[in-house]
Symmetry: D2
Subunit: 362 residues, 4 copies
């Protein structure tokens, strides 16, 4: 199995949804890098379900425990390790689902592949809870990137039918501030309210909703990324698609570029404040897989959460008969708001890794 990622900043996720804990090991943090526990905890808190209207009833403190790799608040050259405890685990709801795979979940292919030995309770290693380790890694990565002027922010762009883009010129600090202000993570207060209503409606129906997270990275050094197979888009998309429920990724104009002509899509180069910039940013800050110096812009589609309270059709693998199930665990009607910090963190971890690979952090 493959719980590792990165070339120079090597992440290893550990734990399972319903085991005692989840966490991350990180190899390759340059010795001396400040490790800001408060900043990590703040991001872990952003990942927790917050408002009553929107959240799972699974309530966990998700308190950061650093197990190693830090001396006097700085990376000390040994493997960094940290975890949070799984404190609110109720295994029963999953046990009865053993023979009746839940639609939309990994249950069926995981059982075929790994057999009875695999711990699939709560989704096992396929659970969104594994992203705790990404959030921890991302907070450390942001600490590596910020002193070099590289800032990563994310916000909820779309929930179901409601779409609200941050204006292109909006300051990253402003995006960060606004997206934290409202529990759905939107930067537009009016849209945020409509999004929350959509989520509440889905919740009342025992159903779920999907959405789109937009990530922007400002200040990436020109040339960051590696040609061809380790292009910025390749490595970012690889990491994004590892996050459970992600089903689409686009950069810059993305799928909309299909309806533009080349003359409309190409971004003209200009000088701005003595720097080479592009007038527009349809490329999403990436040409040839390398950073152009413009903001890196990615949009990630998150499917509606698979765990819903409505009755669903499935099969009984033991009896080989049709079956019905109602998934009774505690689940979010919409995981998009919680995915914001996860995808922001994932972006930071990838950019820090590529910055180390390319010698940009030397």
């Amino acid at each position: 199995m493959t719980m590792e990622f990165g070339r120079r900043l090597r992440l290893g996720l550990f734990g399972t949804s319903h085991g005692p804990e989840v966490g991350v090991t990180i190899d390759g943090i340059p010795a001396g890098t400040p490790i800001d526990r408060a900043a990590i905890q703040a991001d872990l808190d952003r990942r927790r379900p917050v408002g009553r209207r929107l959240a799972t009833r699974r309530q966990e403190e998700d308190l950061l425990v650093v197990d190693g790799g830090v001396s006097d608040g700085r990376a000390n050259g040994s493997t960094f390790r940290a975890h949070v405890a799984n404190t609110d685990v109720r295994r029963e709801p999953y046990d009865k689902l053993r023979d009746t795979p839940r639609p939309g979940h990994a249950d069926y292919p995981a059982r075929v592949r790994y057999g009875e030995a695999a711990d699939l309770s709560g989704g096992g290693i396929f659970s969104g809870r594994m992203t705790v380790g990404l959030v921890i890694a991302g907070a450390i990565a942001k600490g590596l990137l910020r002193p070099r002027g590289l800032e990563v922010v994310a916000y909820t762009r779309t929930i179901g039918p409601v779409d609200a883009a941050a204006p292109e010129g909006m300051d990253p600090a402003e995006i960060a501030r606004r997206s934290r202000e409202h529990e759905v993570g939107s930067v537009d207060p009016a849209a945020a309210e409509r999004m929350a209503e959509e989520i509440a409606a889905a919740r009342r129906a025992g159903d779920s909703l999907g959405g789109i997270v937009e990530v922007r990275a400002y200040g990436a050094p020109v040339g960051l990324g590696e040609p061809f197979f380790d292009s910025l888009e390749s490595v970012l998309a690889h990491a994004y698609f590892s996050v459970p429920a992600v089903k689409g990724v686009e950069f810059g104009a993305g799928f909309a570029s299909v309806r533009l002509r080349g003359s409309e899509h190409n971004d003209p180069f200009v000088f701005r404040d003595g720097q080479v910039r592009t007038e527009t940013n349809r490329a999403g800050g990436i040409l040839g897989g390398l950073a152009t110096g413009m903001p890196i812009v990615a949009r990630i589609a998150v499917k509606p959460a698979s765990s819903i309270a409505v009755r669903q059709r499935t099969v009984n693998l033991a009896t080989r008969q049709p079956a019905e199930i109602v998934v009774t665990g505690r689940h979010d009607p919409c995981i998009v708001p919680r995915a914001v910090v996860v995808l922001e963190a994932t972006t930071a971890a990838v950019l820090a890794d590529l910055a180390l690979v390319g010698g940009f952090l030397a």
Copy 2:
């Protein structure tokens, strides 16, 4: 630089757009695997620009030369190597662009990153011509997968405003046949004609068009893929985004899943011919990063080609003044039809690699 991909089936691309040749080394082909040169050449021919209406005027035979790794028509356990010659290279058009980076191309970030030493003529290693190696690898991978009942096909789904999906039940052989019949690669004759007209119009305007390629893989064994970081979506997207001009990737319902509720998006499990299947396939054949046994469905957005004949604004890096350029090389008004075989090949190479990783080809 990173011209390598794969864990067990290791591809290494070599050459540059305007060097003597481009090609691929492949490590890890099981000894004894039949290597069908005619099939490889057929795929290379599909990658070549065909009709006068649609194509670049750069004309190359792209004749396959196998340099090693094959004995008596079978992989012999040593590194496979093959190339095609670059026979129609005209370097001049690029040389004058040295100080004026072309909008939409890698010129600017590549020059900042790699300096004068980088060979960027014709795009260097950032050129679409590097995909020749992917096509060769994909043809070999298809030969590995086919005996296990795994078939990969691709077709042009969208060109500019014209979209035509293959019906969900269409046979893969039929998709393959139809997409080869019309030069644009569509499976719908009427749509194909409209697509061709759109391309011709863009060509007349000295402009370019983008589009969407849809890839389908039939017969993947249940459980193919690795959890989390090497999920099917992760590794496929990684490879897709390495292909120049790709700016978006989605699986199954993809970005459209955002507007569905969970109850609409979850695919109910059913028995069909004694097999566990899903009634619908919004998951695109992938749950938890593993194959479900349903067709794997990916859509890849290809931006309008960056090389256009219309005058564009840029900067002169030497004089640090605004500048204008007209890119006079020979270029395609729409690369989507040629990307079909590239993305089909890329898919096959990834699936074969993951099948080797997972022990499915043992």
Copy 3:
């Protein structure tokens, strides 16, 4: 930094000598593999200093704590993690050595490379204590290999001037039994006593001794290993030389082969009990980097422990003057007996990894 090893069975060591703990994460243990905690603890106990005559006075229980990856006594598909606490840490002796690097230790190059931020107390990640993780991994690997008839044993071959080889035909179980019987790990009782006397003499002089560990692996499937860069010798030696204090590795006749002619060194093939075997085993069970079916035989030279009580000359990096130091920590006069289980474990981990790579455990 690079605390990871293996392609399919991926080890990640964590902790530091004087931090709260040391341990290992293991990715890639096939789900369902039995995890025998008693066997792991037994190997950890073998690694502990035993007799008063021979050991460091640093006394730690080294009790195994399994943190994840196991359900109902079997690997469950998530990352395996385990650690032992560092309970007997005294930091002072090391702090005063900050400016006066200890001869024979990593202090000086580590400080130049990693600066003040590196945690070098007790050797940090350069300490022999990091091998705890190897022992844990090796015990699990032995559990993977044994059901396939592959048995790994090691013993103390040489201490200082005393050399005692196990007879070629000695049964692996007998080697294992005997080497556990005497605290020095020799299979020859008389030699063991002489070895113990040599160690005791060195201890009395405040000095240290080196030696040679011999590892034998029985029952490796013919063909195990990968050609060229992942030859059995290459991967084994890579891992052996990671173990602190190892300065030489040889297989089969090794350095002594230099004095043989080819006709003496080549092992004639014969049939024995219907199996292809070689009459002699100068190849140490490896030809062309692949297992021949004969016992794999490796000898590993362990230098005399660097920490000694006698006064040594060094430099003061702060004052840039010559200096003298006496290393007052608690140290072994001879680490060879404790290295036996470490190198046995390392061998098992490598063979299990290569067996997974080659499909021998499918």
Copy 4:
């Protein structure tokens, strides 16, 4: 199969002994690095059998052909590729050996592992001829290292019973000059003559001889290497043991350290010309896996060549009867002199890779 090596300077060997060619691809040479074809050819010439007395009768020009990655004499950022033709291939002698594996060769385990499909003619990918690619890579690596003051030299230390060490203070240029002067590669003219006589005697007997190559690397930056699994010793030994016929590797005092006490083995630190140095160099320039600034010293044991003209016993795998063979190909009575440049090159390639990993070439 695994024909690749390195993390940042990625080598891929291709070809087979009796195919049309052998060569190497190299990914990761910094763009702009001078590629000195004459220096590469000079090293290829050193690898060729030279004197009539000592050499195989297989005579090949081994003329370097650079296939890509170079523009105007410098690495251009695309994959470097080069090969030499196999011009003097006679396949017959091998074909008759198909069922009677040659003692000392990979024939038997390779056939068990890879079956009939593997091309084992002339040893296939197990042949010493594959080291042509290492020599090419090493020559380029030396060009990367030399401007940073890092010089790698190797010489024949031992042939059969004749051992002649270069004095510790001998200048690297002098070692290089002397080892090139006499065909056996020794730095001691009298010993060289005795070595040549030993080889000639073995040749007359239809037999072969082994020996030891000593490699020294001067000027490695303090701290080069990575902790634990990518220690200098680990990565160097990994690469050395990939070279066919290598059966032992030691650094510094190596196996002899076993007979020293710690007080004799530890190298005292001293200031010399204002630099931290050690008075002796029993550590072979490596502590804790990192370079100390002293010369890196490795000795590599090369077994007597397996191909000998005397009658040998083997088995017939088809008839399952005992058999005898006489290997009639053209072979070296002693490959040690030719291994000198191969191991020197291997060392340079590893050091350049680790220097790139550690940021020492930035």
